[in-house]
Symmetry: C2
Subunit: 135 residues, 2 copies
């Protein structure tokens, strides 16, 4: 569980510090990986996914994620090979980020897979959290 949370937190550290190499190290390198940015169509394959993060990080001067309601599921329970992490992202940024929506709150579902002792991202889906009072 702590290994999963460490990899999940490292992902946000990579975005916050603009660390492209760390981001690349956190993803499985496969044509089948997927990433959905808020409001956007799915990206497929690690190369396009990393490119999108590089572009995003290049376009943001300052960004910080405060994660709340972090929930981790390990599957299968007896010998986990997959982890699902759902959380709310409370985002502070100087704007311009595709991840910054509606006052800076989003919900993310991340799917990590175990590779020996390491957990790496296989898929991620983030979406804007829409305040009912704004609709």
């Amino acid at each position: 569980m702590s290994d999963v949370l460490a990899a999940h937190r490292a992902f946000y550290d990579a975005v916050e510090t603009g660390d492209v190499d760390l981001m690349a190290a956190l993803w499985v390198d496969d044509a089948g990986t997927t990433c959905v940015h808020p409001g956007a169509p799915p990206l497929k394959g690690t190369a396009p996914i990393l490119r999108s993060w590089t572009v995003l990080m290049a376009g943001v001067g300052y960004i910080q994620f405060f994660l709340t309601d972090v929930e981790v599921s390990l599957l299968p329970a007896n010998d986990p090979t997959t982890a699902i992490v759902v959380c709310t992202e409370n985002i502070l940024s100087d704007g311009g980020s595709v991840e910054s929506f509606n006052g800076g709150r989003a919900v993310a579902t991340s799917i990590l897979v175990r590779d020996g002792a390491r957990w790496r991202f296989w898929a991620r889906h983030a979406s804007p959290l829409i305040d009912p009072e704004d609709v």
Copy 2:
């Protein structure tokens, strides 16, 4: 792969036909399951998730999903216990549905787990597909 796609399609059949029992049969019954409806905070646990679908189905007279760009990943590759399905939902409905956004297009990431020969939903995250021309 075909078993996964059949379970994935059955999910949409359940919504289209308002079949609450079918929907319930398609989810793992566990406190750790998660579901993110477009724009909404995460739901956790099968009971609240099924309640949300029942409310949604009760509020929609007509809804039909045309799925495109359906991508399936099976993990681990050698003896899959988890399946990730990403697709674009093209939705026709008479309105009032929380799943109907921006001209009726959404992106969904579904996570299914294998239980013997059956695949059932463990998590789902759907989000509106926002047309860049509308932003």
